[in-house]
Symmetry: C2
Subunit: 205 residues, 2 copies
Amino acid sequence: MKLNERGLLVVISGPSGVGKGTVRRALFQMPNHDLVYSVSMTTRPPRNNEVDGVDYFFVDKQTFLNRIRENKFLEWAEFVGHYYGTPRDKVDEQLDRGKEVVLEIEVEGALQVRKQMKDAVFVFLVPPGKKALYERLKNRGTEHLSTIEKRMKKAEGEFMLAHKYDYIVVNDEVNNAADRIMAIIRAEHAKTERTIHNYLKMIGE
Amino acid sequence: MKLNERGLLVVISGPSGVGKGTVRRALFQMPNHDLVYSVSMTTRPPRNNEVDGVDYFFVDKQTFLNRIRENKFLEWAEFVGHYYGTPRDKVDEQLDRGKEVVLEIEVEGALQVRKQMKDAVFVFLVPPGKKALYERLKNRGTEHLSTIEKRMKKAEGEFMLAHKYDYIVVNDEVNNAADRIMAIIRAEHAKTERTIHNYLKMIGE
């Protein structure tokens, strides 16, 4: 029996290159979940195999800036010359339906969501060390060395923001990390502040 | 990778008859855990199949009262004419070894532990309704009807103490409840306040 019926907004964030996308995909492949994710909007060009409307909504810069002005993003960020944002209305709709909405976003965006969504769950995904992060960025093979250096420098600052999150999960092995995040979601649903209202109703009957 | 090395003290409590013992046993039957429990001490007579030193340490009243005076209990309570208590030294030893110590105790005892162990995890196990609790007590068949009525009256007061716990878990089905408690334990290990120290050490290296 689930005492909390409303979905959770689960923010998975962490330094660029830590493997947020891989962990998110592993999470969605697990059995018996109610996870959905709202597709982000971005101005960066698609990578190999990325599909518009599935991986991201790919839009031009002007379209993105208009939406910022109309306050249509839960968060948005500019990162290495490109814009990324989360459409606010999609998230609210899904939470009301009892779905867990997973946001896989950069650190800057996560801290914007933190200010607006007090009862969201914030997970900081970290590599098992700085060296591991560097290797991962290099092995991805999609960036120039100068971009990797830029990302590493940004990561240095992001590493120090861990204390702003509710949970720290090490991405040493993708399925371990996904398992732990699933445990966090289940545990959060049982938290007293989320369950007490329906609990008192149940006991009163 | 486990950033938090110290074990957790997990207090499973709830109204008498809710099935704490059954859920605890299901929890210990799950794979890949580091759970231990410190055997409680009691002055109540053993039920069928209960073994001294395994289910409880069965002692006489005088022995128990001496131990209270010597402050050798993490908590103790008097319940329906009998004493129950948790030996403090056993718990500390196991936590230091990285074991999760599961305490399955009455509400009165749990709130004593709350005052002493600030970083313990408190789970309130509840029946799916008052009627379900009454049925469970009756079906147990080990108590006189007057004892059942006494327990139900005590439960009425205990139901209102849910807000003093970190989590509320419904025991609608034993394995569901055990699964959820296991998720809580995994999630609690990832909490930022428990992991940040070792995380900063890891990132600094």
